[in-house]
Symmetry: C2
């Protein structure tokens, strides 16, 4: 089983409007509601690839209830979320029908009490006992200590479970110091972590800070991986147009899936880029187009960097 952790789960709403104009009133023509938060998205892709996957983190309130009902309604991830008193946040993606561009509004998330964090830590350790790998994903809700990911990485290492960390800011900085197996920052997150806007230099610097492997996502340019086994660039076969929502999460699923199947790095990166690219092409934000994925697998370019 692969475990994904989403401390700040979300009920993701996608609103379609004709054209978003600040300070105007808009009729939303279409509402799509689904379970979200990075780790939940990663789990959905892993399940679609045929992996057994369990999601944990926090869920609470009416929004948390809807999230759990929707998770239960799929043949996908197993729900091991920890109930909390506060309400799971909503995120709203407002899609402009004219340009296709998306405006994102993210609620901060519920206040997590110290006892709830303690309950989670116990549950996490139990779940790790049956896990072949763990993904630690996304922002921290209020009340969770800023060093949370460092704690979770250390626990995974102590139990011999490979950990992939995908977060940003101070939680990333502290988490990296705890020596995760893989981090997957985007260009902005990497620059914030290292102070360098030059991906090659920044990626090496991130390894020096403690990450065993760094896979930097460079948007439409694909991935740059710096690992103990070598350095590679992996790029989609052609320029990608579409909605990048969820592409990073799909890439994380590809990396984890390849890790638990003991694929070599070039094969893992191929899978990650093919999944991310298929997600960008998909008509619904965050979905993976299976046919597009299969077709892309043969066409991703991996080169030594």
């Amino acid at each position: 089983m692969i475990l994904t952790v989403t401390l700040n789960t979300a009920l993701d709403l996608t609103y379609r409007v004709r054209s978003l104009r600040p300070h105007a009133s808009h009729r939303v023509s279409e509402v799509v509601e689904r379970p979200g938060g990075k780790g939940v998205n990663v789990a959905r892709v892993l399940a679609a690839l045929g992996h057994e996957v369990t999601v944990t983190g926090f869920a609470g309130g009416a929004t948390g209830q809807v999230l759990r009902e929707r998770l239960a309604g799929t043949s996908g991830p197993v729900d091991a979320l920890v109930p909390v008193a506060g309400a799971t946040r909503r995120t709203i993606a407002v899609v402009d029908g004219r340009s296709g561009d998306t405006t994102q509004l993210n609620e901060p998330g519920p206040q997590i009490a110290p006892a709830e964090w303690g309950t989670f830590l116990d549950r996490y350790e139990e779940l790790l006992a049956g896990a072949s790998a763990v993904a630690l994903c996304g922002s921290l809700p209020p009340g969770v200590p800023v060093g949370a990911y460092a704690t979770l990485v250390r626990t995974a290492r102590a139990l011999g479970v490979p950990a992939l960390l995908d977060t940003s800011g101070e939680p990333l900085r502290r988490g990296v110091a705890a020596r995760p197996d893989v981090i997957k920052p985007n260009a902005d997150e990497l620059a914030e972590l290292t102070g360098s806007h030059e991906p090659s230099r920044a990626t090496q610097d991130a390894r020096r800070r403690g990450a065993r492997a760094v896979v930097a996502s460079l948007g439409a340019d694909g991935l740059l991986a710096v690992t103990p086994e070598g350095r590679w660039r992996a790029a989609p076969p052609s320029r990608v147009h579409g909605n990048p929502t969820g592409a990073g999460d799909a890439a994380v699923a590809g990396l984890l899936s390849g890790l638990v199947e003991n694929l070599d790095w070039p094969a893992r990166l191929t899978r990650a880029v093919a999944l991310a690219t298929a997600t960008v092409h998909a008509p619904t934000a965050g979905d993976v187009g299976r046919t597009a994925y299969d077709e892309l697998l043969a066409r991703v370019l991996v080169t030594a960097a």
Copy 2:
């Protein structure tokens, strides 16, 4: 008891962001969640004025559950909402922290089945038996016939209950033809109904279409009332700055409150303008500042028009 009808109730969310920029990602710093829909807002103001008030309309899904829990948690309106299978819509008001301006996103509302509409009609007739007046407010959710308000106005007239209609577009056009006691269009709604952008002419035309009295809300200029008893303008004492959300609903509450207390038209209009103005001044969208209201009551200017 005063009855308010909100066929398209809403869970109203107010999001505060630093500055809304299309196609960017925003952290929401503050989330306020409360029961909404025009008739629910009217009921809240009526309850604050000390009236017994009952709300009906539809509520369903997780959002409807939250709405009903919140209603029950106040010492305000009595909940006589009819349960439906679909989920109550959300509306989102995004308040720009820099300019204070609001961008509004309104979901369309749940699909109402014919049987649910039938159940509502029965409930409505029962409730009217104990009502001294009824307010029919807001948009229609999908599935409700476009002539819904005409039906509801006729039922109220048959039972001798004065009806105030506050809606727009085709539902307003049809509702007016059923001869409601009062309509309260804003300038845009009035122009859409009559084809005239000149308030005095448009107001008279709206009366000819069937409304016994027309109270047009002209934004910061206050109200223009054309009634069988005379014509008046009612204006706030000075130019109003603030958030106009809920001002129209507060004005409806003022008109209805004055109607059931048998106040004359100048007194009803004074109350409506004072409540609307106090709402615009209030720090929270849609709230009425009680002190501001009491102070404004003495200063609203009503003149024959």
